[in-house]
Symmetry: C2
Subunit: 248 residues, 2 copies
Amino acid sequence: MRPADVRQRVTGPTAGLAPGYTQANLIAVPTDWAYDMLLFAQRNPKPCPVLDVTDPGNPVTVLAPDADLRTDVPRYRVWREGVLTDTPIDATPYWRDDLVAFLIGCSFTFEAALVAAGVPLRHGRNVPMYVTDRECRPAGRLHGPMVVSLRMVPAAMVDTAVRVSGLMPAVHGAPVHVGDPAGLGITDLGAPDFGDPPVAADGDVPVFWACGVTPQAVLMASKPPFAITHAPGHMFVTDVPDSEYRMT
Amino acid sequence: MRPADVRQRVTGPTAGLAPGYTQANLIAVPTDWAYDMLLFAQRNPKPCPVLDVTDPGNPVTVLAPDADLRTDVPRYRVWREGVLTDTPIDATPYWRDDLVAFLIGCSFTFEAALVAAGVPLRHGRNVPMYVTDRECRPAGRLHGPMVVSLRMVPAAMVDTAVRVSGLMPAVHGAPVHVGDPAGLGITDLGAPDFGDPPVAADGDVPVFWACGVTPQAVLMASKPPFAITHAPGHMFVTDVPDSEYRMT
């Protein structure tokens, strides 16, 4: 499937779809919250690497000029005062003229590079994601914990996984933690906060990357009046090749 | 000299001072222009890689917590409606409670890495800088041309210079142009818009990097009511080691 096909047809998780094209997290907030959001992203570049910011009300991004951000994400989440109120597949009825949309890099983008380097990907339909006990650096009215994605990596490949993803800082870069989940305050790897439970082989080590679902944990903690995001794992597929965000 | 010594004693250009510590460009704008500035930086990461943004009125940055941004830049420029109105060594009389300061990466930061890789630095007191004919991507009310810094590099070392600086995207990264200055609309290399004229040896090639003076060209083009910047080449010396911004 090409990116436009995924945008128009898919309503489920997008891991592995339109291989070679960058996928992005979405968070749209009212204009009077946009500075706090952009500053939050600047202060927390590992979970929130910004790929594009739209002009107020305009549902078009340079990352896919023919796409419509109100309809072309497989599934949305609608937030009021930090509470999830709906999960539509079409956000048009909720869109507002004062919404500014942030497209944030996604770790799916470095998965092809991991595989090409010989690092097997064990997760299935959706990657496991966890809310950690690590607080982000606040910005204005926005604060909250970092969310991470998990990949189980054979011990001998951890260095390769670190090196390869580290060369892609626009899509979360190197892992934020390797090994014991307790180091991030995660008590049960089998019960992720978002996505599917992990699949591990003997000798695998848990490797955690900062995750673009972090803004959703921030919404829950900071309770802005309104926001629209993607549903975790249900990404906006852009027209930009993954290689655009690789430093080699 | 240590960073704090430079901040307290120097009133001239800072190239080569406090080696090993990151230097930064400064632009401070009123709060109601801060979103446009931050968005401009996000949309133009090569000239404007943001290292830190202060809270309104607070002249303190995490890059040097003991420093005062009102006094610790060697020389300032004060701007009104896009016109340069003063060049003080102390900005305290001009500081306002609504100013938000942006610290932007500086190419001086990769110079030590270039030298370590065998690339000679030919410029003297201050690097030559030029306003180009390349327009930045606008953001809100801010628009203007990209400014570049020039280093003359032996032809056989250009690939090394590209590779080494390319691993430091937070301080402008790889060059934006190599060779004929006309490709950037520069007609006379001997007459830079800022800094000192270039010094070249036989077989040198001009190599141009995006420059953190770009926001000053943007001030001239966009004419916000008020701003304070550093004087070109007179950088804010931080306490952060250069290695912090190196990806290797």
